[in-house]
């Protein structure tokens, strides 16, 4: 079974290697090879999951980097959590690669796209399977690189390049915290193996510091407040990339990291409060931003941020089960939403939902799949989102903080509202554009994902032992969240379909709120200020110091030497007789000193 795990990680790496060198010469420019290898990976991961469920956890390692006499180990730890994640990542990667056959057709650098997608998958699989934080960090960074390459895939566009840089740099901030956490962990515990760290005897204070640093990494990658700003911009990448980035990889990595380190985090209770708070703040702020966005991919991006906040909230209040369950169900319906959005953009050549309209009649399959995903996201039974969302709400309720529960409920309402705002505007409004349904190669993955979004709720039943604490289902919470979801849909329908009031009307009444939200709570401005003004000011000070102190200091020293040399130089006259005079006088002086001493010595004696 070890070899299965190794193989399922190495196969995508292999396809990266092959595609980046000889991709253009392979049939379908290498895409088929990549899909084939990914399919093998997927089946291997299914096998691994099956074996883990039957035989229990598996861990093995290899010597990786020699450091002095010890080796840093590259290890793999496969438990139920990571096995499920392996299946999820390979499955979604496979579906997205199939989808990209249609979406990216005729694209320049087509093979390169597939190569990087494969590398991306491989590094996410590495993060999932890694048994030590150090190895996880290695794969984690690799993923950061891939996200940079993919977001900036259309490198001819200035905005894409800027977005790629932004994504890379902002997540970098989180990664720095992650790395510091790992280093501190290594020096306090002496190992970065996840299993051994969690059983070690750390004081709550130290464990708390380490946990917060690790959580910093998760904040960066999972786009939590205040580092969420890279994610909306990351929409500049091709849509399949967004789908991949927002479901199974990258953003999932942060949540996965928290889930994986759960026992370490448990050593310090305050950490969970921080996680809860940040998750809550993120989910609420992002949900409000999603309500006012106009671009379809931006709406989905904010929705992703909001739901990641939800997962963090679940992890912070409830425990492993709620957050991870939502991670999985969210992966399905969010991938589906993005693939659907890809089809829509492909068909209408616009990103603005107000310019789409009337898609329902012309794109039946896409519309129904999108509807299923939207219902799932809004939290309507029997779709998967309902179950996972309810789980999180239940844990928020059980935490005993009313504020948290109420804000979480409001966020539920907002989610239902924004996604159906999108749906009603884009699909049901009248429009007489000529639009064709996407080709089967693109709809096929969506059908599978739609199917999974429907039955996703059953995961819970299938993996009940993994979800451990089976908190009792509170009927009141369930009804409340369902009611708010339906209310959200109703309000969206009322405003955008039946015309109770217009968006402009609301906008004119709540001008300042709209302004605040549309400017993304001025966070980008704040960062802009910090990076441009503050950093620029600091640079000016540095420049002044460099010019005035360092340059002038060095120059002054040089001048001193030069002037000194000029002054002393005439001593060397080159005339023999002057030297002789010097010798003569020096001799006289030395002799007179000598005599003075001997004579006084004689006198003294």
């Amino acid at each position: 079974m070890e070899y299965w795990v190794l193989a399922l990680i190495i196969l995508p790496l292999l396809s990266f290697g092959l595609l980046s060198f000889v991709g253009e010469k392979l049939p379908r420019r290498g895409a088929l090879l990549s899909i084939f290898l990914m399919a093998i990976s997927f089946f291997l991961s299914l096998g691994v999951l099956y074996k883990v469920l039957i035989e229990g956890d598996l861990s093995f390692f290899y010597n990786w980097l020699p450091v002095g006499k010890i080796f840093l180990k590259a290890g793999f730890l496969i438990d139920t959590l990571s096995a499920i994640m392996l299946v999820l990542v390979t499955l979604i990667s496979l579906l997205i690669q199939i989808y990209s056959l249609g979406y990216m057709a005729g694209e320049e650098r087509f093979s390169w796209f597939y190569a990087v997608l494969s590398l991306f998958t491989a590094s996410m699989l590495g993060v999932v399977a890694a048994s030590s934080y150090l190895f996880m960090y290695f794969c984690w960074e690799l993923m950061g690189l891939c996200s940079y390459l993919l977001i900036g895939f259309w490198k001819e566009r200035e905005t894409a390049l800027a977005a790629a840089k932004k994504a890379f740099l902002v997540t970098r901030l989180g990664d720095l915290a992650f790395l510091l956490g790992i280093i501190y962990l290594y020096f306090t515990v002496g190992t970065t193996e996840i299993l051994r760290v969690s059983t070690s005897t750390l004081t709550p204070a130290k464990a708390g510091l380490i946990s917060l640093l690790l959580f910093g990494g998760a904040v960066g990658k999972s786009a939590q407040f205040p580092l969420h700003i890279w994610l909306p911009d990351a929409m500049e990448g091709p849509t399949p990339v967004s789908a991949f980035l927002h479901s199974a990889t990258m953003v999932a990595a942060g949540v996965y990291l928290v889930a994986r380190s759960y026992s370490l985090f448990s050593l310090s209770p305050t950490v969970f409060q921080v996680i809860t708070f940040i998750g809550l703040l993120t989910s609420f702020l992002a949900a409000t931003m999603a309500c006012v966005a106009r671009e379809i991919k931006k709406i989905l991006a904010y929705s992703t941020i909001s739901h990641l906040g939800y997962m963090m909230l679940g992890l912070g209040t409830g425990g492993l089960g709620a957050g991870v369950f939502h991670l999985i169900s969210h992966a399905f319906f969010k991938a589906l939403l993005f693939l659907g959005a890809g089809c829509m953009i492909h068909a209408t050549h616009t990103h603005d939902i107000f310019e789409m309209g009337g898609l329902f009649k012309r794109m039946k399959i896409t519309s129904i799949a999108f509807l299923i995903a939207s219902l799932s996201l809004a939290g309507v039974p029997p779709f998967s989102g309902f179950f996972s969302k309810d789980e999180i709400l239940t844990s928020a309720f059980a935490s005993g903080w009313w504020g948290i529960f109420i804000i979480a409920l409001i966020t539920t309402f907002l989610s239902a509202f924004y996604i159906f705002r999108l749906f009603f505007i884009a699909f049901l409004r009248e429009s007489n554009k000529e639009i064709k349904e996407a080709p089967p190669i693109m709809t096929f993955p969506m059908i599978i994902l739609a199917f999974l979004s429907i039955i996703g709720g059953l995961w819970k039943v299938s993996f009940a032992p993994f979800l451990e604490e089976e908190g009792e289902i509170l009927i009141a919470v369930l009804l409340l969240s369902l009611g708010l979801s339906l209310l959200g849909i109703l309000v969206a329908g009322g405003i955008y379909l039946y015309g109770w009031t217009t968006e402009e009307n609301i906008r004119s009444r709540l001008t300042w709120i709209y302004k605040l939200i549309e400017n993304k709570y001025y966070l980008d401005h704040f960062y802009g200020f910090v990076t441009e003004k503050a950093a620029f000011g600091f640079s000016c000070v540095c420049r002044w110091f460099d010019h005035q102190a360092i340059n002038k200091g060095i120059d002054g020293f040089a001048i001193l030497i030069r002037v000194g040399g000029k002054t002393i130089r005439p001593v060397q006259t080159g005339r023999l007789r002057s030297y002789m005079w010097i010798i003569f006088f020096t001799l006289c002086i030395i002799l007179s000193i000598y005599w003075w001493f001997t004579l006084s010595g004689v006198k003294g004696g």
């Binding site: 130089r569 080159g574 005339r575 023999l576 007789r577």
Partner: protein, 99 residues
């Protein structure tokens, strides 16, 4: 004759030599002044040798005279080369080494 006479003469000659070295511009004259200083020292050695009735001093003086002769030969050759190079033996004119 008392020792002091020899030493006085020797000191006189030595001072004369120093004066010559310091004041003369002609390389030959400087060389002659050096020789006077050398011989003043020789005279001192011989005087002390006589005074202490030791032969070592006289033998040493014979050596210095021999080495001195060789030295003069070398010095004259150098002066000759200087003359060929600079067309002068005025020491003040030769200032290639001026800083």
């Amino acid at each position: 004759m008392p020792l002091i006479y020899y030493l006085a003469l020797s000191a006189l000659l030595f001072s004369l030599g120093v004066f010559g070295v310091l004041t003369q511009r002609n390389a030959i004259n400087v060389l002659i002044s050096f020789e006077i200083m050398l011989n003043a020292v020789n005279l001192t050695l011989v005087a002390f040798s006589q005074f202490f009735q030791l032969l070592k001093g006289q033998i040493f003086v014979l050596f210095t005279i021999g080495v001195g002769a060789a030295e003069v030969a070398m010095a004259l050759i150098i002066i000759f080369v200087i003359f060929k190079t600079f067309k002068t033996i005025d020491l003040d004119e030769i200032k290639l080494m001026r800083g």
